[in-house]
């Protein structure tokens, strides 16, 4: 029976969805086209093949919308022919969400020392170092990366590259 317990609400919520798809030509365009065509948001998008033998790809999308819109997004994704499975981590299952970012900071003197100290506190590690700059690699929940970027801003933030969220379930089972 269809779940009709969700109360209609106009509040916009952020949800992380994982879509397991056949890695066939154009599959990413189908998913992205669905979002743009129906006016849904994409806050971040991560995609890679996860099983080269059965050729399945895993697409993780962070999106936002009212509960009714999120329900539509899930249903529309399930309707795509190459879709194996859709999971909404934010409402159905406990999932772990992680993101990686590369952050370039340039500066000298106290600011440079402070940037390195902050990076240490956030367990970000320098992967490129020059006399005038660092590139830090940081992994964590998106909110942690947001805070680190905010802290780097006054210390000479030059550029940010983020991967978008990857998500997986806790416990022994697959999604």
């Amino acid at each position: 029976m269809h779940d009709t317990k969700i109360k209609p609400s106009d509040e916009v919520e952020r949800h992380t969805l994982t879509v397991l798809v056949d890695n066939e030509a154009g599959v990413l365009a189908r998913v992205v086209g669905l979002f743009s065509g129906r006016g849904y948001n994409i806050e971040s998008l991560t995609v890679a093949e996860v099983d080269p033998i059965s050729r399945t790809s895993r697409i993780t999308i962070v999106t936002s919308g009212t509960p009714a819109v999120i329900e539509q997004i899930e249903n529309q994704l399930r309707r795509l022919v190459p879709t194996h499975k859709v999971t909404n981590w934010s409402s159905q299952k406990a999932g772990i969400e992680r993101e990686m970012a590369l952050i370039k900071v340039s500066g000298s003197g106290d600011k440079r020392v402070e940037a390195l100290r902050m990076a240490d506190a956030f367990r970000a590690r320098p992967v490129d170092t020059t006399h005038a700059s660092f590139v830090f690699e940081i992994t964590g929940a998106p909110a942690k990366i947001d805070s680190f970027i905010d802290l780097m801003r006054p210390l000479g933030l030059v550029e940010v590259s983020r991967t978008g969220v990857a998500a997986i379930s806790r416990g022994p089972e697959a999604m």
Partner: protein, 624 residues
């Protein structure tokens, strides 16, 4: 197991591609005699031969198409195929609409063959139309050779990119050994679950290459599993809700027609059992006989007073294969505010999309109706007799409004009168199939031309494609050579695909194009009158062709009626001709289509005539 053998002969990357379904097939096939049935040996054919062979294996007898450079090998293979009738259209849009008409009137998929580039882009309107109305189509497009893809070659376009949002699924086949599998999958996906159009794009070099052909038995799709069996708990709940309802209404749609004739039979049985009143969307007309007393007529923007008021005031709405389209709901926040709602749909994404419902059933309509009837009988339910009696009394009061009435004239042909006469004079003609264009004439036809059977009414509902009806009539007449096929048209719409009269002549198709000629884009004019202060901006056609002479130029028969007293005679003349006819019925140019729910209004705020005025809110003016 043929797949296994094929795996051994296929490059590794392809084998990987298949592996998943090979394993599933292996598990399914417990018998160790691995050479039977689905496992028949592959045949070696060219890509072009495979296309024709796959069509035959899928039982295709008619193909609507237009040749061009990138499909010449397929046309060459078709040259030797005697058991497939190819219908040469005059424009690819016509091919797709003809295939839609064929599909809707037969329940079989419509098949189209067009070339690359402009052939494919011209098909896009028809594809979108079929997607919106859930019509099963398999559209084959030629493509430039694989080594030229991406080079802006002559007549190249990104067909799969362009058609991705207007198909249920599409494929570009780059390897000839994939071709037969994709073709059979294409038929499977187009016709199962919620039907829809699919595109298979075939590069010219693939059409020339030779490879392994496999028959349709071997399909086992990796992911595609449409849900058609209803959830039992939901069925039981639905039956309980129906048995408790005092003011029920059945609101049925195109899903009943798409599910097959059995669903229409079961719908009638359900009404017999319950005595519930029933209305239908534009797409669902004919699933329930219009002559029966439970029938309340069309619902929605131009629906009847009784159907819309009953939708608004009911305590239980049973939506069967419809999708709460904006033409049906009007203002969603005021839509049937006091009712519980059951929604049966084969597509889970339709449930709670527009209107939140109390019970969703995701299933094929035939299966779900069969179960509802079985459970209703098994549990010996009775409808609420007292409540239903009072409800019918209320419905009869609404019926007294006679919302489809109009003021007739002895000077001008009223369009309503023309449809009434056409209906009356064709009642004894046996099988009658009606197609329409889009606009006022379409709504008048939906209101006044009554249907007793499914698959007799072909109209562009979701997309509202002007120019649909004439080519659709070509497709219907190809499928039913001895039936009476009439396109109820407007003079503006019909000019969009007029060239298909030439197709009708070529294949000796006696279609009747009954044009309600009011010289305006009538529905545009009506909205300009009601919403834009009577400023008729570019909705009048100042230079219309002489349709009678035009008919003669095509080699068809042209007829014209200008006065009410000559109408019957001219209609009879039209019906007696075994040739395509263009009938120029000159009607009152200023007549509006009522009833009308103005944009942004609720079901109980209908306009019945120009005297009702009708204040349209600013929010309403923003709507289409």
């Amino acid at each position: 197991m043929a797949a296994m053998r094929q795996g051994a002969e296929t490059p590794l990357y392809l084998w990987c591609n298949y592996q998943h379904w090979i394993f599933e097939e292996t598990v399914m096939d417990k018998d160790d005699t691995l050479t039977l049935g689905a496992t028949a040996a592959a045949e070696t054919l060219t890509g072009a031969q495979m296309v024709i062979r796959a069509l035959k294996d899928q039982g295709v007898t008619h193909l609507f198409g237009y040749p061009g450079g990138a499909v010449l090998p397929i046309y060459d293979a078709l040259f030797k195929a005697n058991d497939i009738t190819h219908v040469l259209v005059r424009h690819e849009q016509g091919a797709v609409h003809a295939a839609e008409g064929y599909a809707r009137s037969t329940g079989k998929p419509g098949v189209v063959l067009v070339t690359s580039g402009p052939g494919a882009t011209n098909a896009v309107t028809g594809l979108t139309d079929a997607l919106m109305d859930s019509i099963p189509l398999v559209v084959l497009t030629g493509q430039v050779p694989t080594h030229l893809i991406g080079t802006d070659a002559f007549q190249e376009c990104d067909t799969v990119g362009i058609t991705r949002p207007c198909t249920k699924h599409n494929w570009l086949v780059k390897n000839v050994n994939d071709l037969s599998r994709v073709l059979h999958e294409a038929f499977d996906i187009a016709t199962t679950g919620r039907p829809g159009p699919v595109v298979v794009d075939i590069p010219k070099d693939v059409q020339f290459q030779t490879g392994d052909y496999h028959g349709p038995q071997a399909i086992h799709h990796r992911t595609y599993r449409p849900k058609t069996d209803p959830d039992q708990a939901a069925i039981v709940k639905a039956v309980e809700m129906m048995a408790a309802a005092k003011r029920p209404i059945i609101y049925s749609g195109g899903g009943i027609i798409n599910s097959g004739p059995e669903a229409s039979k079961l719908l009638r049985e359900l009404v017999d059992l319950t005595g519930f009143p029933i209305t239908s969307t534009l797409m669902g007309l004919g699933a329930f006989p219009a002559s029966r007393p439970e029938w309340m007529g069309l619902v929605g923007m131009h629906g009847t007073w009784e159907a819309n008021h009953a939708m608004h005031d009911c305590d239980l709405m049973i939506c069967l294969g419809a999708r709460f389209d904006d033409r049906v709901t009007g203002k969603v926040s005021s839509f049937s505010p006091g009712s519980k709602k059951i929604h049966l749909d084969i597509d889970a994404s339709q449930i709670n999309k527009i209107v939140r419902v109390d019970l969703g059933i995701v299933a094929d309509a035939t299966k779900a109706l069969r179960e509802i009837i079985r459970v209703w009988k098994a549990q010996q339910h009775k409808a609420q007799a007292e409540g239903l009696k009072a409800w019918w009394k209320q419905i009869d009061t609404w019926r007294q409004k006679k919302s489809l009435s109009y003021r007739n004239s002895d000077r001008l042909i009223k369009p309503q009168y023309a449809i009434d006469r056409l209906y009356a004079l064709t009642r004894d003609k046996g099988e009658v199939y009606i197609t329409t264009e889009v606009g006022q004439h379409q709504m008048w036809a939906a209101q006044r031309f009554h249907f007793e059977e499914p698959n007799r009414w072909m109209t562009s509902g979701g997309l509202g494609t002007m120019g649909y009806g004439l080519p659709a009539a070509v497709g219907v007449q190809m499928a039913h050579p001895d039936a009476l096929v009439i396109d109820i048209a407007g003079e503006a719409s019909v000019q969009m695909t007029m060239q298909e009269m030439s197709t009708a002549m070529q294949y000796d198709l006696p279609i009747k194009i009954f044009i309600l000629n009011n010289e305006y884009m009538g529905m545009v004019r009506q909205w300009q009158e009601i919403l834009h202060g009577g400023r008729y901006s570019h909705s009048y056609s100042e230079a219309l062709p002489d349709f009678v002479k035009m008919a003669e130029a095509f080699g068809c028969v042209g007829l014209r009626a200008e006065r009410p007293d000559e109408l019957d005679g001219k209609i009879k003349e039209m019906l007696s001709v075994r040739k395509p006819v263009l009938f120029d019925c000159r009607v009152d140019p200023t007549e509006n289509c009522y009833p009308m729910i103005p944009s942004g209004a609720a079901h109980n705020e209908m306009l019945l005539s120009p005297d009702d005025g009708g204040e349209i809110s600013d929010a309403g003016k923003m709507l289409v």
